[in-house]
Protein backbone atom coordinates (compact mmCIF):
# COMPACT_ATOMS: atom_id res chain seq x y z
CA UNK A 1 0.00 0.00 0.00
CA UNK A 2 1.15 3.53 -0.72
CA UNK A 3 1.74 5.89 2.17
CA UNK A 4 2.20 9.59 2.66
CA UNK A 5 3.25 11.80 5.55
CA UNK A 6 0.68 13.29 7.90
CA UNK A 7 0.77 17.09 7.40
CA UNK A 8 0.29 17.49 11.12
CA UNK A 9 2.89 15.13 12.58
CA UNK A 10 4.77 13.54 9.70
CA UNK A 11 3.47 10.14 10.69
CA UNK A 12 3.05 7.63 7.91
CA UNK A 13 -0.56 7.47 6.67
CA UNK A 14 -1.47 4.50 4.53
CA UNK A 15 -3.43 5.22 1.37
CA UNK A 16 -5.89 2.75 -0.10
CA UNK A 17 -5.84 2.15 -3.88
CA UNK A 18 -9.33 3.56 -4.17
CA UNK A 19 -8.66 6.97 -2.70
CA UNK A 20 -11.47 9.46 -3.30
CA UNK A 21 -11.42 13.23 -3.05
CA UNK A 22 -12.69 14.71 0.24
CA UNK A 23 -12.43 11.33 1.89
CA UNK A 24 -11.45 11.63 5.56
CA UNK A 25 -8.52 9.58 6.79
CA UNK A 26 -7.09 9.31 10.27
CA UNK A 27 -3.44 9.57 11.12
CA UNK A 28 -2.40 6.54 13.16
CA UNK A 29 0.10 8.55 15.17
CA UNK A 30 -1.65 11.75 16.15
CA UNK A 31 -5.25 10.69 15.32
CA UNK A 32 -5.78 13.90 13.33
CA UNK A 33 -8.53 13.75 10.78
CA UNK A 34 -7.09 14.33 7.35
CA UNK A 35 -8.96 15.23 4.21
CA UNK A 36 -7.88 13.97 0.79
CA UNK A 37 -7.40 17.25 -1.14
CA UNK A 38 -6.21 15.71 -4.38
CA UNK A 39 -5.85 12.06 -5.26
CA UNK A 40 -3.14 12.19 -7.91
CA UNK A 41 -0.71 12.90 -6.46
CA UNK A 42 -2.32 12.16 -3.10
CA UNK A 43 -2.35 15.28 -0.92
CA UNK A 44 -3.75 15.34 2.58
CA UNK A 45 -4.72 18.36 4.65
CA UNK A 46 -5.95 18.74 8.18
CA UNK A 47 -9.73 18.33 8.07
CA UNK A 48 -11.72 21.24 9.45
CA UNK A 49 -12.10 20.12 13.03
CA UNK A 50 -15.02 20.50 15.33
CA UNK A 51 -13.45 21.57 18.57
CA UNK A 52 -13.65 18.47 20.69
CA UNK A 53 -14.33 18.84 24.36
CA UNK A 54 -11.61 17.31 26.45
CA UNK A 55 -11.71 17.92 30.11
CA UNK A 56 -11.87 20.71 32.61
Amino acid sequence: MAATACPECEGSVELAESLTQNEILECPDCLSELEVVTTNPPVLALAPEMAEDWGE
Binding site: D53, W54, G55, E56
Partner: protein
Protein backbone atom coordinates in the same frame (compact mmCIF):
# COMPACT_ATOMS: atom_id res chain seq x y z
CA UNK B 1 -33.19 40.64 54.12
CA UNK B 2 -31.31 40.77 50.87
CA UNK B 3 -33.10 39.02 48.02
CA UNK B 4 -31.01 36.85 45.78
CA UNK B 5 -31.51 35.25 42.37
CA UNK B 6 -29.28 32.53 40.93
CA UNK B 7 -29.07 32.08 37.16
CA UNK B 8 -27.75 28.64 36.32
CA UNK B 9 -29.11 27.24 39.57
CA UNK B 10 -29.37 23.70 38.23
CA UNK B 11 -25.62 23.45 37.68
CA UNK B 12 -22.94 22.43 40.14
CA UNK B 13 -21.91 25.96 41.07
CA UNK B 14 -25.55 26.96 41.23
CA UNK B 15 -26.26 24.09 43.59
CA UNK B 16 -23.43 25.11 45.84
CA UNK B 17 -24.70 28.69 45.93
CA UNK B 18 -28.07 27.34 47.00
CA UNK B 19 -26.52 25.21 49.74
CA UNK B 20 -24.72 28.21 51.18
CA UNK B 21 -27.44 30.82 50.68
CA UNK B 22 -30.50 28.89 51.79
CA UNK B 23 -29.17 29.00 55.35
CA UNK B 24 -27.59 32.42 55.16
CA UNK B 25 -29.19 34.49 57.90
CA UNK B 26 -29.20 37.77 55.95
CA UNK B 27 -30.35 36.52 52.59
CA UNK B 28 -33.46 35.11 51.01
CA UNK B 29 -33.23 33.12 47.78
CA UNK B 30 -36.12 34.44 45.69
CA UNK B 31 -35.21 32.93 42.35
CA UNK B 32 -33.46 29.73 41.25
CA UNK B 33 -33.34 29.80 37.46
CA UNK B 34 -33.00 26.90 35.06
CA UNK B 35 -34.40 26.52 31.58
CA UNK B 36 -34.16 22.76 31.35
CA UNK B 37 -35.61 22.10 34.81
CA UNK B 38 -38.11 24.94 35.06
CA UNK B 39 -41.00 23.96 37.31
CA UNK B 40 -39.04 21.05 38.84
CA UNK B 41 -38.12 20.97 42.51
CA UNK B 42 -34.67 22.23 43.39
CA UNK B 43 -34.02 19.22 45.62
CA UNK B 44 -34.56 16.93 42.64
CA UNK B 45 -31.37 18.25 41.05
CA UNK B 46 -29.58 18.79 44.36
CA UNK B 47 -30.54 15.87 46.60
CA UNK B 48 -28.47 17.17 49.50
CA UNK B 49 -31.05 19.95 49.85
CA UNK B 50 -33.91 17.61 50.69
CA UNK B 51 -35.57 19.01 53.75
CA UNK B 52 -33.79 22.33 53.29
CA UNK B 53 -36.00 23.97 50.66
CA UNK B 54 -39.30 23.63 48.87
CA UNK B 55 -38.18 25.91 46.02
CA UNK B 56 -38.70 25.05 42.37
CA UNK B 57 -36.72 26.27 39.40
CA UNK B 58 -37.98 29.20 37.32
CA UNK B 59 -37.30 29.79 33.63
CA UNK B 60 -34.52 32.37 33.24
CA UNK B 61 -36.78 34.20 30.79
CA UNK B 62 -39.09 34.96 33.70
CA UNK B 63 -36.42 36.54 35.82
CA UNK B 64 -37.79 38.73 38.62
CA UNK B 65 -36.05 41.56 40.46
CA UNK B 66 -33.47 40.68 43.12
CA UNK B 67 -31.07 42.74 45.16
CA UNK B 68 -28.26 40.45 44.11
CA UNK B 69 -27.98 38.18 41.07
CA UNK B 70 -25.42 35.38 40.83
CA UNK B 71 -24.47 34.18 37.36
CA UNK B 72 -23.47 30.52 37.36
CA UNK B 73 -23.96 29.98 33.65
CA UNK B 74 -21.55 28.59 31.08
CA UNK B 75 -18.58 30.63 29.98
CA UNK B 76 -19.60 33.25 27.44
CA UNK B 77 -23.23 33.41 28.59
CA UNK B 78 -22.83 35.92 31.43
CA UNK B 79 -22.53 38.87 29.07
CA UNK B 80 -26.17 38.72 27.99
CA UNK B 81 -27.34 38.74 31.60
CA UNK B 82 -25.00 41.56 32.57
CA UNK B 83 -26.15 43.56 29.62
CA UNK B 84 -29.79 43.06 30.55
CA UNK B 85 -29.05 44.49 34.00
CA UNK B 86 -26.94 47.39 32.77
CA UNK B 87 -27.91 50.62 34.44
CA UNK B 88 -29.70 48.94 37.35
CA UNK B 89 -28.18 48.93 40.79
CA UNK B 90 -28.66 45.23 41.16
CA UNK B 91 -25.46 43.73 42.52
CA UNK B 92 -24.20 41.14 40.05
CA UNK B 93 -21.79 38.42 41.10
CA UNK B 94 -20.51 36.67 38.01
CA UNK B 95 -18.88 33.26 38.32
CA UNK B 96 -17.98 32.80 34.68
CA UNK B 97 -14.73 33.77 33.00
CA UNK B 98 -16.35 36.58 31.01
CA UNK B 99 -15.15 39.52 33.09
CA UNK B 100 -12.02 38.18 34.74
CA UNK B 101 -9.25 39.48 32.50
CA UNK B 102 -8.63 43.21 32.44
CA UNK B 103 -6.55 43.09 29.27
CA UNK B 104 -8.81 42.51 26.26
CA UNK B 105 -5.82 41.18 24.34
CA UNK B 106 -5.30 38.49 26.96
CA UNK B 107 -8.99 37.58 26.82
CA UNK B 108 -8.73 37.26 23.06
CA UNK B 109 -5.60 35.15 23.32
CA UNK B 110 -6.78 32.80 26.03
CA UNK B 111 -10.42 32.45 25.05
CA UNK B 112 -10.13 32.90 21.30
CA UNK B 113 -13.04 35.29 21.20
CA UNK B 114 -13.87 38.97 21.39
CA UNK B 115 -14.06 40.16 25.01
CA UNK B 116 -17.17 41.93 26.31
CA UNK B 117 -17.32 45.66 25.63
CA UNK B 118 -15.05 47.91 27.66
CA UNK B 119 -17.82 49.69 29.56
CA UNK B 120 -19.24 46.40 30.78
CA UNK B 121 -15.84 45.07 31.77
CA UNK B 122 -14.68 48.23 33.47
CA UNK B 123 -17.42 48.01 36.06
CA UNK B 124 -16.20 44.72 37.51
CA UNK B 125 -14.16 44.25 40.68
CA UNK B 126 -12.34 40.94 41.01
CA UNK B 127 -14.09 38.76 43.56
CA UNK B 128 -10.98 37.92 45.51
CA UNK B 129 -11.36 39.22 49.08
CA UNK B 130 -7.71 38.67 49.97
CA UNK B 131 -6.66 41.22 47.33
CA UNK B 132 -9.71 43.42 46.75
CA UNK B 133 -11.50 43.52 50.08
CA UNK B 134 -11.85 47.28 50.20
CA UNK B 135 -13.17 47.66 46.68
CA UNK B 136 -15.60 44.81 47.29
CA UNK B 137 -17.32 46.68 50.14
CA UNK B 138 -19.07 48.84 47.58
CA UNK B 139 -18.79 46.84 44.38
CA UNK B 140 -21.92 46.28 42.31
CA UNK B 141 -20.30 44.15 39.67
CA UNK B 142 -18.10 41.37 40.96
CA UNK B 143 -16.20 38.82 38.85
CA UNK B 144 -15.17 35.74 40.81
CA UNK B 145 -11.85 34.24 39.64
CA UNK B 146 -11.38 30.71 38.33
CA UNK B 147 -10.85 27.91 40.80
CA UNK B 148 -7.24 27.09 39.96
CA UNK B 149 -6.58 30.79 39.45
CA UNK B 150 -7.63 31.50 43.04
CA UNK B 151 -5.38 28.73 44.26
CA UNK B 152 -2.48 29.96 42.15
CA UNK B 153 -2.88 33.59 43.15
CA UNK B 154 -3.14 32.83 46.85
CA UNK B 155 -0.12 30.51 46.66
CA UNK B 156 2.11 32.94 44.82
CA UNK B 157 1.00 36.42 45.78
CA UNK B 158 2.95 36.62 49.07
CA UNK B 159 6.13 35.55 47.30
CA UNK B 160 5.58 37.96 44.42
CA UNK B 161 4.59 40.88 46.61
CA UNK B 162 7.66 40.45 48.79
CA UNK B 163 9.89 40.00 45.74
CA UNK B 164 11.17 36.66 46.99
CA UNK B 165 11.12 34.70 43.76
CA UNK B 166 12.25 35.03 40.18
CA UNK B 167 9.46 35.77 37.70
CA UNK B 168 9.33 32.42 35.89
CA UNK B 169 6.98 29.99 37.62
CA UNK B 170 5.67 26.61 36.51
CA UNK B 171 2.26 25.68 37.90
CA UNK B 172 1.18 22.09 37.86
CA UNK B 173 -2.56 22.00 38.62
CA UNK B 174 -4.82 19.05 39.42
CA UNK B 175 -8.59 19.09 39.48
CA UNK B 176 -11.56 16.82 40.14
CA UNK B 177 -14.41 16.02 37.79
CA UNK B 178 -16.91 18.56 39.14
CA UNK B 179 -14.67 21.22 37.61
CA UNK B 180 -16.23 20.56 34.24
CA UNK B 181 -19.82 20.96 35.30
CA UNK B 182 -22.89 18.82 35.24
CA UNK B 183 -23.47 17.98 31.61
CA UNK B 184 -22.87 14.38 30.58
CA UNK B 185 -20.13 13.88 28.02
CA UNK B 186 -17.81 10.99 27.25
CA UNK B 187 -15.05 13.00 28.90
CA UNK B 188 -16.75 12.66 32.21
CA UNK B 189 -18.21 9.20 31.82
CA UNK B 190 -17.44 7.39 35.06
CA UNK B 191 -15.69 4.45 33.42
CA UNK B 192 -13.41 6.82 31.49
CA UNK B 193 -12.86 9.52 34.09
CA UNK B 194 -12.25 7.18 37.05
CA UNK B 195 -8.65 6.95 38.08
CA UNK B 196 -7.66 9.40 35.35
CA UNK B 197 -4.44 11.39 35.27
CA UNK B 198 -5.51 13.31 32.21
CA UNK B 199 -3.31 16.20 31.11
CA UNK B 200 -6.12 18.13 29.47
CA UNK B 201 -4.20 21.40 29.26
CA UNK B 202 -0.52 20.70 28.59
CA UNK B 203 0.13 24.42 28.18
CA UNK B 204 -1.56 27.71 28.81
CA UNK B 205 -4.48 26.63 30.88
CA UNK B 206 -6.73 29.68 30.85
CA UNK B 207 -6.39 30.31 34.55
CA UNK B 208 -2.72 31.05 33.89
CA UNK B 209 -3.72 34.47 32.58
CA UNK B 210 -5.46 35.33 35.84
CA UNK B 211 -2.53 34.28 37.98
CA UNK B 212 -0.22 36.38 35.84
CA UNK B 213 -2.59 39.32 36.09
CA UNK B 214 -2.77 39.26 39.89
CA UNK B 215 0.84 38.38 40.69
CA UNK B 216 2.83 39.99 37.90
CA UNK B 217 4.76 36.75 37.52
CA UNK B 218 5.51 34.97 34.29
CA UNK B 219 3.40 31.94 34.91
CA UNK B 220 2.89 28.78 32.87
CA UNK B 221 0.11 26.45 33.94
CA UNK B 222 -0.47 22.81 33.06
CA UNK B 223 -3.66 21.12 34.25
CA UNK B 224 -4.45 17.46 34.90
CA UNK B 225 -7.76 15.84 35.75
CA UNK B 226 -7.28 13.39 38.63
CA UNK B 227 -9.48 10.98 40.55
CA UNK B 228 -11.67 13.22 42.69
CA UNK B 229 -15.05 14.82 42.37
CA UNK B 230 -14.25 18.01 44.26
CA UNK B 231 -10.88 19.58 44.84
CA UNK B 232 -8.11 21.45 43.12
CA UNK B 233 -4.46 21.71 44.02
CA UNK B 234 -1.65 23.74 42.49
CA UNK B 235 2.05 23.04 42.79
CA UNK B 236 3.99 26.18 41.91
CA UNK B 237 7.64 25.57 41.12
CA UNK B 238 9.68 28.76 41.55
CA UNK B 239 13.27 29.83 42.06
CA UNK B 240 14.06 32.00 45.02
CA UNK B 241 15.98 35.23 44.65
CA UNK B 242 19.65 34.69 45.61
CA UNK B 243 20.11 34.09 49.31
CA UNK B 244 16.51 33.30 50.01
CA UNK B 245 15.95 31.84 53.48
CA UNK B 246 12.99 29.71 54.47
CA UNK B 247 12.31 32.07 57.34
CA UNK B 248 11.64 34.89 54.88
CA UNK B 249 9.16 32.81 53.01
CA UNK B 250 7.32 31.73 56.12
CA UNK B 251 7.14 35.31 57.28
CA UNK B 252 5.76 36.47 53.95
CA UNK B 253 2.92 33.96 54.13
CA UNK B 254 2.21 34.66 57.76
CA UNK B 255 2.06 38.39 57.22
CA UNK B 256 -0.09 38.09 54.16
CA UNK B 257 -2.66 35.80 55.72
CA UNK B 258 -2.57 36.49 59.45
CA UNK B 259 -6.02 38.03 59.43
CA UNK B 260 -7.60 36.13 56.62
CA UNK B 261 -10.60 34.07 57.71
CA UNK B 262 -10.28 31.57 54.89
CA UNK B 263 -6.58 31.20 54.17
CA UNK B 264 -4.60 28.90 56.43
CA UNK B 265 -0.86 28.51 56.14
CA UNK B 266 -0.04 24.79 56.21
CA UNK B 267 3.64 23.92 56.06
CA UNK B 268 4.41 21.38 58.74
CA UNK B 269 7.37 19.21 59.47
CA UNK B 270 5.44 16.28 60.86
CA UNK B 271 2.20 14.46 60.40
CA UNK B 272 0.31 13.16 57.42
CA UNK B 273 -1.09 16.45 56.16
CA UNK B 274 2.04 18.64 55.98
CA UNK B 275 1.14 20.59 52.87
CA UNK B 276 -2.29 21.62 51.57
CA UNK B 277 -4.55 18.86 50.29
CA UNK B 278 -8.04 19.35 48.93
CA UNK B 279 -9.79 16.33 50.35
CA UNK B 280 -10.12 17.70 53.89
CA UNK B 281 -11.40 20.99 52.42
CA UNK B 282 -14.43 19.55 50.60
CA UNK B 283 -17.43 21.72 51.38
CA UNK B 284 -15.38 24.42 53.13
CA UNK B 285 -14.39 27.86 51.96
CA UNK B 286 -10.73 27.43 52.88
CA UNK B 287 -7.83 27.86 50.59
CA UNK B 288 -4.90 26.25 52.39
CA UNK B 289 -1.51 27.49 51.23
CA UNK B 290 1.91 26.10 52.06
CA UNK B 291 5.47 26.06 50.89
CA UNK B 292 8.74 24.25 50.99
CA UNK B 293 12.11 25.90 50.51
CA UNK B 294 15.32 24.13 49.70
CA UNK B 295 17.84 26.68 50.79
CA UNK B 296 20.89 25.17 49.06
CA UNK B 297 19.44 25.35 45.61
CA UNK B 298 17.02 28.19 46.21
CA UNK B 299 14.14 26.07 44.99
CA UNK B 300 10.72 27.07 46.26
CA UNK B 301 7.58 25.02 46.02
CA UNK B 302 4.35 26.86 46.80
CA UNK B 303 1.24 24.74 47.20
CA UNK B 304 -2.42 25.64 47.48
CA UNK B 305 -5.57 23.54 47.73
CA UNK B 306 -9.27 24.33 47.78
CA UNK B 307 -12.69 22.98 46.91
CA UNK B 308 -13.25 24.16 43.35
CA UNK B 309 -16.99 24.60 43.96
CA UNK B 310 -16.57 26.54 47.21
CA UNK B 311 -13.51 28.77 47.58
CA UNK B 312 -13.03 28.15 43.87
CA UNK B 313 -16.52 29.46 43.04
CA UNK B 314 -19.68 29.66 45.16
CA UNK B 315 -18.08 30.13 48.58
CA UNK B 316 -15.78 32.82 47.34
CA UNK B 317 -18.83 34.52 45.81
CA UNK B 318 -20.67 34.36 49.12
CA UNK B 319 -17.62 35.72 50.95
CA UNK B 320 -17.69 38.68 48.53
CA UNK B 321 -21.39 39.11 49.21
CA UNK B 322 -20.76 39.11 52.95
CA UNK B 323 -18.17 41.85 52.50
CA UNK B 324 -20.56 43.79 50.29
CA UNK B 325 -23.29 43.47 52.93
CA UNK B 326 -20.95 44.38 55.74
CA UNK B 327 -21.45 41.06 57.45
CA UNK B 328 -18.82 38.78 59.02
CA UNK B 329 -17.11 37.12 56.10
CA UNK B 330 -17.75 33.60 57.28
CA UNK B 331 -21.49 34.07 57.65
CA UNK B 332 -23.10 30.88 56.42
CA UNK B 333 -19.75 29.21 55.92
CA UNK B 334 -18.55 27.84 59.24
CA UNK B 335 -18.38 24.20 58.20
CA UNK B 336 -14.90 22.99 59.19
CA UNK B 337 -14.55 20.14 56.72
CA UNK B 338 -14.26 16.42 57.37
CA UNK B 339 -11.56 14.04 58.45
CA UNK B 340 -11.23 11.18 57.72
CA UNK B 341 -12.70 11.47 54.27
Amino acid sequence: MTTVGIIGAAGYVGGELLRLLLHHPDVRVTGAYSASLRGKRVDGAHPNLRGHTALSFTDPDDRGAHDVVFLAVPHGRAVEHVRALAGTSTCVVDLTADFRLRDPGAHQRYYGEVPPADDLRAAFTPGLPELYRDALRTADRISVPGCMATAGVLALRPLAAAGLVEPGVVIDAKIGSSGSGSSATTTNLHAERSGAMRVFAPHRHRHEAEVAQETGLDVRMTATGVEAVRGAQVLCHASGKPGLAEADVRRAYRDAYADEPFVRVVAQRRGLYRLPEPKILAGTNYCDVGFSVEEDSGRVLAVAALDNLVKGAAGNAVQCLNIRLGRPEDTGMRFAGLHPV
